[in-house]
């Protein structure tokens, strides 16, 4: 047994979460094992289990880490971006985001995986989804009111996630279609978000 100081222990946890979050987004939760995550983080398999009792527990915490990192990237980009539906979507549906899943939103990176995992990671997804919807709701046209604001924001986030997942899915075989999908959803959502 190797004892590490408290600060080292906490630092290891941060490193593990950042590493896991990046690898899970790049290769999917089921696409990467804990042994590889520990190795990539420069730690032993045993050290990993001192922090997380299971791969599911690590995936759940790493999902929240990914959400926080992508929120930060989104905010960091904010100075150059208009606080409008179009401005947000310019960023979220960019080819830059498409081509770098490891640095992008974990909801999109694992969209179709989360339903197959546990209740806790599902709750983290739901929280992230509601937060993103809240950010859109705040910049919707003022002419859209009441229940319609909430409905529209949820639909925007779901459509944005689908657009990015589909754009990534076809990118290897049909890059033109990939671009077309991102632009088509961008146009649809910007138009829909305008008051009638």
């Amino acid at each position: 047994m190797v004892f590490v100081r408290r600060e080292q222990f906490d630092e290891n946890r941060e490193t593990l979460l950042a590493t896991a979050s990046k690898l899970f987004r790049e290769r999917g939760i089921d696409g990467v094992g804990v042994a590889e995550i520990a190795r990539e983080a420069g730690l032993t398999h045993g050290a990993l289990y001192a922090h997380f009792r299971s791969k599911e527990a690590l995936a759940t915490e790493a999902f929240s880490t990914g959400l926080a990192l992508s929120r930060e990237a989104f905010r960091g980009d904010g100075a150059r971006r208009k606080r409008t539906v179009a401005g947000y979507l310019n960023y979220l549906l960019s080819s830059l985001n498409r081509d770098d899943p490891g640095a992008s939103c974990p909801m999109t990176a694992s969209a179709s995986e989360i339903g197959r995992h546990g209740e806790e990671i599902s709750a983290r997804f739901a929280k992230g989804f509601q937060e993103k919807a809240g950010a859109f709701e705040a910049v919707l046209d003022e002419g859209i009111s009441g229940a319609e604001r909430r409905r529209m924001s949820l639909a925007i986030v779901a459509a944005e996630i689908g657009a990015m997942a589909a754009a990534r899915a076809v990118a290897k075989s049909d890059p033109d279609l990939s671009d077309e999908i991102l632009k088509a959803v961008h146009a649809l959502l910007v138009k829909a978000a305008k008051a009638p």
Copy 2:
């Protein structure tokens, strides 16, 4: 070495594809191994490799099998369904579909996985995506014309895929939000598909 008759060989291939297609949709391509697929199909591991040289090759063919099966289910349901955007979405965005990924569209089941796999499965996804978009394009309001028809259809399919993936992701922790997402995207798309 065991020799099997041609008909038996072909039948085994069909069984393998149907089994793989169902398991991949239920648990993801990375979530299930070939040994389990062979066992579930009542065949040996070796028999599987007589048909498919790799898991990727099996996943690619099984993806097309899933597309064909879900197209068939979609058509089979057609008698009870209006040939309209709303009619199609009633079926595609139903809670029945959400709760039975193994019998539903493989594009949705593996939305975020395909981008991490090879070019051939990406091409199958692109083909399935274009076909589904074509089905929507054929029933769009006649007042929508030209390039806008194509754009709208691509956006509808991407949004529908995102809605279902997100609805499944949150279902375990927040079933109300899950229903809300399906309804919100349904409403957004039906409204958008109407000529201005």
